[in-house]
Chain length 214, copies 2
């Protein structure tokens, strides 16, 4: 099934919303309420949910428990996935130990860094390896998801090594756009600085909307 990327992203946010509801999984929620929660229009929420097949009468709202189950099934979110981080600077280390990954099915099994000194001084329960072993370790440990947190100049090579070992899903936090090393590999580029710029720009534009040009 072909599901557009913005829909996948919103369904993942909806999934988290269902998780957060916790014990209250029997609760019904309307598409309008989901839209407000996720910052999306009611009609786009309805359209997103239509990809899930039968989810209950939309007049009465969606049951959060059923919605969560349907999203997990459609997007394959209930599977566990062996995961690694390449690049153990401060951001990479934060991700290596990010406590929300495990409960969400991402088992952090390896960290890589080009600096042997870094590998020796970092205290973590995750197994660490030198960067030149990425492909071998990924293959041997059957790692499916790779997180890239290296400097920009090393990102392309990190992606190539991950893909060569068999990783099919990559999130790249290096400040450069990495394209899929080969067909069948999905790469998502996330730039933390860009997030700051976007919000600064939005704030600038909303200010200047109230300030007539001289």
């Amino acid at each position: 099934m072909v599901i557009p990327e913005p829909t996948i992203a919103r369904l993942c946010s909806m999934y988290r919303f269902c998780e957060d509801a916790g014990v209250d999984a029997g609760r019904q929620v309307s598409s309008a309420a989901l839209g407000r929660e996720l910052g999306a229009t009611e009609s786009s929420i309805r359209k997103d949910i239509s990809f899930l097949g039968e989810t209950g009468r939309s007049g009465a709202g969606y049951g959060l428990g059923l919605l969560k189950k349907k999203i997990a099934a459609a997007l394959g979110l209930s599977r566990r996935r062996r995961t690694c981080v390449v690049g153990l600077g401060s951001l990479g280390t934060a991700l290596l130990e990010y406590e929300r990954l495990g409960p969400a099915g991402f088992d952090m099994v390896a960290g890589f860094d080009a600096s042997i000194n870094r590998l020796e001084t970092l205290r973590t329960s995750v197994k660490l390896y030198p960067a030149y072993e990425v492909s071998d370790v990924v293959r041997r440990e059957r790692i499916e998801v790779g997180i890239i947190a290296v400097p920009a100049a090393a990102a392309r090579e990190a992606a190539d090594s991950l893909a060569a070992g068999g990783v099919q899903a990559i999130v790249n936090f290096a400040p450069v756009v990495v394209r899929p090393p080969r067909p069948g590999v999905v790469v998502r580029n996330v730039d933390m600085l860009n997030e700051l710029r976007v919000v600064a720009a939005q704030s600038f534009l909303s200010d200047s909307a109230h300030t007539p040009l001289a």
Copy 2:
């Protein structure tokens, strides 16, 4: 001027692409090439650039130097902005010391944490304060941009305190959707776990596209 959020995000990515071109700022680039670079369609790139006014003949492509200047002017990206981080766990600390912020105009001037012990043991050149001082310090230090990296349960309060002090642009990394505490404040919610889920889902869907249902 009202510029849609996806356009703002793409223009910020384009701005980074122009920056990365560095010394080669005289280079011309076509909307097709920009689209490939940013993972967007050529027509959406053209539409984004149309918000910038006159940027040169699009037949010959856009000059990267001029494009960068136009984006900066339209989105207010050349200004410096005093910035702070609330929540100094591993992610917050990584952001506090993120070396790309300064060159991009975000001057990191304060960090906040609820744990006095954390404030005393963290070694950084940024000034640190207890969390209950957020509003006062933001006001006194004229901080414009706030980064939230606290646990989910504390995110709403952090946003309220930042807004009470006068912050108008907030990036929230806590795993909960924070809505603008009041009109005029812009909040961008970024969920690292969601990025992993989206890429895992995309990979799952592209696998199952090749595997006929039994």
